[in-house]
């Protein structure tokens, strides 16, 4: 509790990417219209942002992420951040403003000419306002919006979005949420926490969501620990989301990938021979080629062994395939108390899975949740939820792996006559394998109303204690 203690511990840990923009980085540029362009920085190249202008790549190199620039004569000028403006309340209303009125005498051609003359965006907007017939009638709020709209059109500026995992996920989600299988930033955050991803941990991931899960896990591992991914292709999987993260090599080097064939314990991968057919290398080329092949196949066999040795700390699944089949396959490779997190854009997929898992010993407390996220516009005097919002960030099932003890019996056993066979029609018998205390309080697979209420309070740990 000593004051200042720990300040010396301000660490020198290498961050996951370079602190400044470097050649080879893929950056996200936000243009005034709100659109985001993704640009790979190559040496001696020019970046074109359409009507917003162009500039040489070198202008960005060495700059920190997150700044806003104005393009002036192909040079970048850093724009200072603009504070929000308070808007004065006035008596103005839209009582006298009618749709379809001719209000702007300045024609499109005239505006184009002004733009070509190199006039600054703010000057053009000023001219438009001067000419606008009803501008003075507008409320101050409306005037602000008018100016903002015009600025979106004419200003030759852009911002470099800092490639945090949140920002990159949001960019992809807004661009095409199907490719992320609906993994919205809030869902991704929940997945990472529920899976207990921590530096030094060892995780399994099945990511058919463009690599958003893989990127996020790597971001949270920070080059320490291990990530094994299992994919559905025979070459190293493409995880395109990772491109914008601009990870250092140390961050990604802890990841290896298998596919559903090579991850099969009963299958022996067909590996091409690494020995020359004649017993002797015919050329240096052949030697290098075969050595390379040997390194690759050794690595594959090592990765397989590592998977089969098990004791992984967690499993994250975001897949188009049957999650139950994946859990069946990978469950043996998880350590005790490991977290399993399955995300799906469809509620049926996770609820069916929950229904399957609650009959199986070894899976503790499967719970299904759906995230709700609402973003607000916060402007002085104009704070309200955004008019457009995302409908769904998908559904998450979380469950914990346990080592079962078949001899353990519930304290309530005298109430629930134990039925021997799984899959029997009797509802109480279905719950018996996981049974016991759980069955008594919350877990009975049947739908008695008492059982349901007890789950209500507890699922996902959301006991309501924050009523204020």
């Amino acid at each position: 509790m000593d004051v200042g203690e720990g300040s010396s511990q301000s660490n020198h840990a290498l961050s996951n990417r370079e602190e400044t923009i470097q050649l080879g980085h893929t950056v996200l540029l936000k243009i005034p219209s709100g659109d985001i362009r993704t640009v790979k920085l190559e040496g001696n190249a020019t970046i074109y942002l359409g009507k917003f202008g162009s500039f040489p790549t070198s202008e960005l190199v060495g700059q920190p992420f997150g700044l806003t620039y104005e393009i002036v004569d192909k040079k970048l000028k850093v724009l200072p951040p603009r504070p929000m403006q308070e808007v004065e309340d006035t008596e103005a209303t839209n009582e006298l403003i009618h749709d379809g009125q001719f209000v702007q005498p300045l024609t499109l051609e005239e505006i184009e000419t002004l733009k070509k003359s190199g006039l600054h965006a703010s000057e053009i907007i000023k001219k438009q306002i001067e000419q606008h017939a009803n501008y003075s009638l507008k409320t101050e709020y409306s005037k602000e919006k008018y100016k903002k709209r015009k600025e979106m059109k004419y200003s030759k500026s852009f911002s470099v979005i800092e490639p945090t995992m949140f920002n990159v996920c949001e960019y992809w989600f807004d661009k095409d949420q199907n490719r992320l299988r609906d993994i919205r930033p809030d869902a991704l955050a929940q997945i990472l926490n529920l899976a207990n991803v921590r530096p030094g941990g060892r995780y399994l991931a099945v990511d058919d969501a463009s690599g958003v899960v893989v990127s996020a896990v790597l971001d949270r591992l920070g080059g320490q620990g291990r990530l094994l991914t299992i994919c559905d292709v025979d070459s190293p999987p493409a995880y395109p989301v990772m491109t914008q993260m601009n990870f250092r090599k140390e961050v990604t080097s802890i990841m290896s990938s298998l596919n559903w064939a090579t991850a099969d314990e009963d299958y022996t991968p067909i590996l091409a021979s690494t020995e020359p057919p004649s017993g002797k290398f015919k050329s240096d080329g052949q030697r290098t080629r075969l050595n390379k092949r040997k390194v690759a196949s050794d690595l594959l066999m090592q990765t397989r062994e590592e998977l089969f040795a098990g004791e992984f700390d967690g499993l994250i699944v975001a897949t188009e395939y049957d999650p139950y089949s994946i859990l069946e396959k990978l469950f043996p490779y998880l350590g005790g108390s490991a977290s399993i997190v399955v995300h799906s854009p469809y509620v049926q997929v996770v609820t069916n899975l929950q229904n399957q898992l609650r009959d199986i010993p070894g899976y503790l407390g499967p719970a299904v949740t759906e995230g709700f996220l609402r973003k607000y516009q916060v402007l002085p005097g104009r704070t309200h939820p955004m008019m457009n919002a995302s409908g769904s960030g998908g559904f998450i099932l979380h469950v914990i792996k346990i080592y079962d003890d078949e001899s353990a019996v519930s304290v309530m056993q005298h109430r629930h006559r134990k039925k021997a066979k799984l899959g029997s029609e009797d509802v109480s018998a279905r719950a018996t394998p996981t049974g016991g205390a759980k069955e008594e309080e919350a877990q009975s697979a049947g739908a008695s109303s008492a059982t349901l209420t007890s789950i209500v309070d507890t699922d996902a740990g959301e006991v309501d204690k924050r009523t204020s």
């Binding site: 709100g34 929940q190 949270r220 929950q354 973003k375 353990a408 697979a445 740990g461």
Partner: protein
């Protein structure tokens, strides 16, 4: 932090999961016993058991699960000293603030430590969390807890009122999280603590909109940008295995059959009544003149009987069909889900903002801001499409004049 070994050792903090409702932390102390409704256990017998094991009670009645603590389980199990943060908010804040291994973070106040554990896990031994709590007893309790959980290297806890006295570090942290009644009083202090060589982030956690508005004002005045606000919640789903929904044709059949039975009963009663009447009449007649005129009544009775027999045969045939259908339904249950009837409706508003590096901030002072052209760095990162803009024009009237300057 907590043990990462495969097996439980003496002195480990473990989570004893009895039911979904009852999740308790436990320090494994040989010599001690755990005695509960769910059985009777000796701590010494828990040593050496793998994490994640189901353990049966010594008396054979009941069992518990011994789990490795995670911040998420801790949130369920922790002793509440204050209102605490839950998964949805914690996860979202950690993600927006871009916390990861090696991050330096400030948190105020510590409260019950729900958020602290999650942050400590994510930033790891290479990062550092400075946690501040103004309530002395709570601070001491939290400090004990952090020590017991092996977090001393990662967390520095200070008993201090940060709104009055500020933070203990300057130009050091990547992110600040304020869960205070008046976060606006700590905004300037937070700015001091944030490092100036790169972009840093802040989050203020407040349940009331009035607090948000004051916070936003303070953040804006202090030079923070990209001010955004979110609300996030979890909706738990209840999953039921139920027989397939019955088609109305089945209901219709049932109704038809009961209608037929009713009709049959009515006819039988009419027939019976008639037969009775005839019998009585015949009896009377027989009493009057003992002749063979009762045959007609006899015939009527037999006709009624055969009709009744016909319907009961049909009824008997349809009954097994229904039973079979119900049995099949029982075998193939369908899986249904719905949101729980009562869920948390609100926790707090999460107000976020960014502080740009000092090199950029210094230019702000040099330039008169009011005349600057607008740029994409604005308080409204995704401008709504024009149509929405017009609609919101009216909506703004509702909000206008409320609380902003109060």
């Amino acid at each position: 932090m907590w043990s990462t070994a495969r097996e439980i050792a003496a002195g480990d903090v473990v989570i004893a999961w009895m039911t979904r409702d009852i999740v308790q932390p436990l320090v494994v102390t040989p010599g001690k016993e755990l005695n509960s409704k769910y059985g009777y256990y000796r701590h010494s017998e828990l040593v050496g058991v793998p994490y994640g094991s189901k353990i049966r009670s010594r008396n054979g009645k009941g069992f518990i699960h011994l789990l490795r603590p995670t911040p998420e389980l801790w949130t369920l199990a922790l002793p509440h000293r204050t209102q605490i943060l839950y998964l949805a908010d914690i996860a979202f804040v950690v993600s927006w603030l871009d916390l990861k291994p090696g991050s330096n973070v400030i948190e105020a106040g510590t409260g019950s430590g729900s958020f602290s554990h999650s942050v400590a896990r994510t930033i790891g031994p290479a990062g550092h969390l400075w946690s501040f709590e103004f309530h002395e007893t709570r601070a001491n309790k939290a400090k004990e807890e952090f020590s017991r959980h092996g977090m001393d290297g990662v967390v520095t806890l200070t008993h201090r009122n940060v709104c009055k006295d500020g933070f203990t570090v300057v130009d050091t942290v990547d992110a600040v999280f304020l869960d205070l009644p008046a976060p606006w009083d700590a905004v300037e202090h937070a700015k001091q603590a944030l490092r100036k060589d790169r972009t840093t982030r802040i989050c203020c956690f407040s349940p009331c909109m009035e607090q948000v508005l004051r916070t936003v004002s303070a953040l804006n005045e202090a030079g923070f940008t990209e001010i955004t606000m979110y609300e996030t919640l979890l909706r738990p789903h209840q999953v039921d295995a139920a027989p397939p929904l019955t088609p109305v044709s089945v209901v219709g059949e049932k109704l038809k059959q009961s209608e037929a039975r009713r009709e049959e009963k009515r006819l039988r009663q009419i027939a019976n009544a008639r037969a009775g009447a005839e019998r009585r009449a015949a009896k009377r007649k027989a009493e009057d003149d003992d002749t063979l005129e009762g045959t007609e009544g006899k015939r009527a009775k037999t006709a009624g009987q055969s009709a009744a027999a016909g319907t009961s045969v049909a009824d008997a045939a349809s009954a097994p069909v229904r039973e079979v259908a119900q049995e099949a339904a029982g075998a193939t249950k369908i899986c249904l889900s719905k949101t729980f009837p009562e869920v948390r409706g609100h926790t707090s508003y999460l107000t976020f903002a960014v502080l740009l590096p000092a090199t950029v901030m210094s230019t702000v002072l040099a330039v008169s801001t009011s005349e600057q052209p607008s740029t994409a760095v604005s308080a409204e990162p995704t401008p709504p499409p024009p149509s929405a803009v017009e609609v919101s024009d009216c909506d703004c009237c509702i909000f206008r004049g409320e609380g902003w300057r109060s």
